[in-house]
């Protein structure tokens, strides 16, 4: 009870400070989908002054996985006699022809795993079958994929491979910050990505683009602190990368995780759904580990596929429009029958927006 009161007191103080600091219309982007969900789930928007608005960025691995990549995943899962392991998040993402969930309903052996480690265990338990893991996610997830591939290499496991679509956040932020259409005054930077990366990779943002930046945690309080800090930086023109999540993020990040990623992957150009190709924004397995590369092993072609007609995911991811401004939103596109990927993951901008606010209270 005491804790709840203290929390409410703190939120009140932060709201007051924000009212005080935000003397002009401000737009901040939360880059990370988990922030997006936390913002909606906590009803935080309802506490903000009218002149402060939040837009959601490209921070959901589901949303940024390119349709051609999803199609490749489905093509692979559809091979007979193969176990396809995926994080639950990717299950409902529509490819050109249906989702992994649809495939499973029609008999493909698609398994939901909570970690890449579980996928490797599936390979160990099913030695006569190929097990392919769909490796998606940002700097946070890439180290675990790297660790598991290293273990598979050490133990000479032959029936395991990864369809590797990991993506890197800073190159996408550079693209966003440089866009003329984007008008954001500050970024709430992704907390858990920062756990791995540390602070340095974001320094170019305040330096080159004069935007406010805060690394924040995922409690409503953390996020509110982040917003106030962004407003403070704008008010005082004190642009920097403020580390408010020092409980978990060290300035240098997690060097061990960074090393593992460098050991197993090379940086590579990657296609982001809606954003197009971004230089050096993805990870590719080093030649030395190519036997674990599912795309090579099963000769998959990753095609360039247009977004479903009418879907404005790219604009939503760029923060150019809010989900409600997409003509399909809550009409042809809804969480039961998503058109675009932003409607799929519960942290996709469109899904979060649908779930928590499409009904106007």
């Amino acid at each position: 009870m005491r804790a709840r009161e203290m929390l409410k007191d703190k939120i009140k103080l932060l709201c007051d400070a924000l009212n005080n600091l935000a003397d002009e219309p401000l737009t901040f982007m939360e880059v990370c989908g988990t922030h997006t969900v936390a913002i909606y789930r906590s009803g935080l928007r309802s506490l903000l002054p009218k002149n402060v608005s939040l837009v959601s960025g490209p921070g959901c691995p589901v949303c940024v996985t390119d349709q051609g990549e999803v199609d490749a995943a489905i093509q692979l899962a559809n091979k007979g006699d193969l176990i396809f392991a995926t994080y639950g998040d990717m299950l409902r993402v529509p490819g050109t022809k249906g989702s992994l969930q649809d495939l499973r309903a029609r008999g493909a052996d698609v398994r939901v795993v909570k970690s890449c480690d579980e996928a490797l265990n599936l390979a160990l338990k099913n030695p006569t079958k190929e097990v392919a893991f769909l490796g998606v996610g940002f700097e946070t997830t890439a180290p675990s994929t790297a660790a598991v591939i290293l273990e598979a290499a050490e133990r000479e496991i032959e029936n395991f491979s990864v369809l590797c679509f990991h993506k890197l956040v800073p190159p996408a932020l550079r693209l966003l910050a440089g866009s003329k259409e984007l008008k954001v005054d500050g970024f709430i930077l992704p907390g858990h990505v920062s756990v791995v990366l540390g602070v340095a990779p974001y320094m170019f943002l305040p330096r080159d683009f004069k935007v406010a930046c805060a690394i924040a945690g995922f409690e409503a309080l953390d996020i509110m602190e982040g917003i106030v800090e962004l407003a403070r930086q704008v008010r005082y023109k004190d642009f920097k990368v403020s580390l408010l999540y020092a409980r978990a993020v060290k300035p240098e990040g997690n060097p061990l995780a960074q090393k593992l990623v460098r050991r197993v992957f090379d940086e590579a150009d990657a296609r982001w759904r809606g954003l197009g190709e971004i230089k050096k924004s993805g990870l590719r397995l080093k030649a030395e580990f190519s036997r674990f590369d599912a795309a090579a092993k099963f000769d998959l072609r990753i095609e360039e596929v247009p977004l479903p007609s009418g879907c404005k995911c790219g604009d939503v991811l760029m923060g150019k429009i809010t989900p409600q401004q997409c003509p399909l939103f809550a009409k042809r596109c809804n969480p039961d029958d998503p058109v675009g990927p932003c409607m799929v993951s519960s942290e996709g901008s469109c899904a979060a927006c649908y779930k928590y606010s499409h009904k106007v209270m």
Partner: protein, 325 residues
């Protein structure tokens, strides 16, 4: 179009599927959105299929669940459970002792409720065409309230009472399914009639529902949409066990969508809320008021969050799968 797991999750896709089925039956069906139909002679009828996996779990098993689940649908309409019809589908190869154990559990609840088994059926399916065993239970009973409890009685100002902490059954089954180890977690699987019976004499009780598939959130959305009323609840007031909160955190679930199997939400007129709570407290010490029915925002459930923000609660939209983000 294929039937998918999401159609069984209890949320909106489930509602839609059931809606399509009912539309075929047209006027030859009851479509009042209640869990239990009232037919002539004040007879209440409900049917439910039970396919829980694993079959045995802390707090119950599929037999106990089947009798609780079906009779609870009567209880929350103020109908005294009296008769059961039970159909069991068995996969070839099920150890007979398991079947016996399950039937004994079913019997245990039936006896406690003084419910009689009046019809039964067993079918055996070839190996691989079922997962052990499934039970369908049809429960029958007599309505004992003055006016039948139901969502049509809901009106602005009604107080919403929950009989205990939410999401225990759903959190347990998810934890077991996804290999999480929670010693202290048990299903809330229990018959609700002992709780409901004293309330049948209270005129101010309007409507009740057991918060099964889809959880409290989905039930409240059904009420709001079905009755065209608004609902406001407060996160701080909703009883929640820390085990359930942890499972939801780790798997990325919303506790408002986790199933209960012995926990109900009850709408009561404001003037008798205190009486109802004190009556419930005898058997349900953690019962509490969590919100109210409003005139505002009809069709919508609003949640006042921990930090004092407001957000909309929606039905569960698809299958619940663990997420990394």
């Amino acid at each position: 179009m294929f039937v998918e797991l999401k159609h069984g999750s209890g949320g909106r896709p489930t509602q839609q599927l059931i809606g399509e089925i009912l539309s075929i039956y047209g006027d030859n069906s009851i479509k009042d959105l209640e869990d239990c139909a009232l037919i002539e002679g004040g007879l209440g009828v409900t049917i439910d299929g039970f396919t829980v996996s694993p079959r045995f779990f802390p707090g119950g098993d599929i037999g106990k669940l089947a009798v609780c689940g079906s009779t609870n649908d009567l209880a929350v309409r103020g109908v005294k459970p009296m008769y059961l019809a039970m159909s069991i589908l068995i996969e070839e190869g099920l150890p007979k002792e398991e079947l016996i154990k399950v039937v004994k559990s079913a019997y245990g609840v039936s006896k406690e409720l003084d419910v009689k088994l009046v019809a039964g059926d067993t079918k055996v399916l070839p190996r691989g065409q079922a997962d052990g065993m499934y039970i369908t239970c049809c429960a029958l009973g007599k309505a004992v309230t003055g006016r039948p409890w139901g969502i049509n009685n809901l009106s602005s100002g009604d107080i919403l009472v929950i009989t205990g902490p939410i999401g225990k059954h759903g959190a347990l089954i998810s934890a077991l399914h996804y290999g999480l180890d929670v010693d202290q977690l048990a299903s809330d699987c229990a018959p609700l009639w002992p709780l409901m019976q004293p309330l049948t004499e209270v005129a101010g009780v309007k409507c009740a529902r057991d918060c099964t598939r889809g959880g409290l959130g989905t039930v409240l959305c059904e009420w709001a949409e079905g009755a065209g009323i608004g609902i406001e609840i407060e996160e701080d007031l909703i009883p929640l066990d820390p085990e359930v909160a942890s499972v939801a955190d780790v798997l990325g679930f919303d506790v408002l969508h986790l199933a209960c199997e012995g926990t109900a939400v009850i709408a009561v007129a404001p003037d008798c809320a205190e009486y109802v709570l004190s009556s419930l407290r005898v058997l349900a010490p953690n019962c509490t008021a969590i919100g109210k029915v409003t005139e505002d925002h009809p069709g919508i459930v609003g949640l006042k969050t921990e930090i004092g923000g407001i957000r909309v609660v929606d039905m569960l939209a698809g299958e619940m799968v663990p997420r990394i983000c």
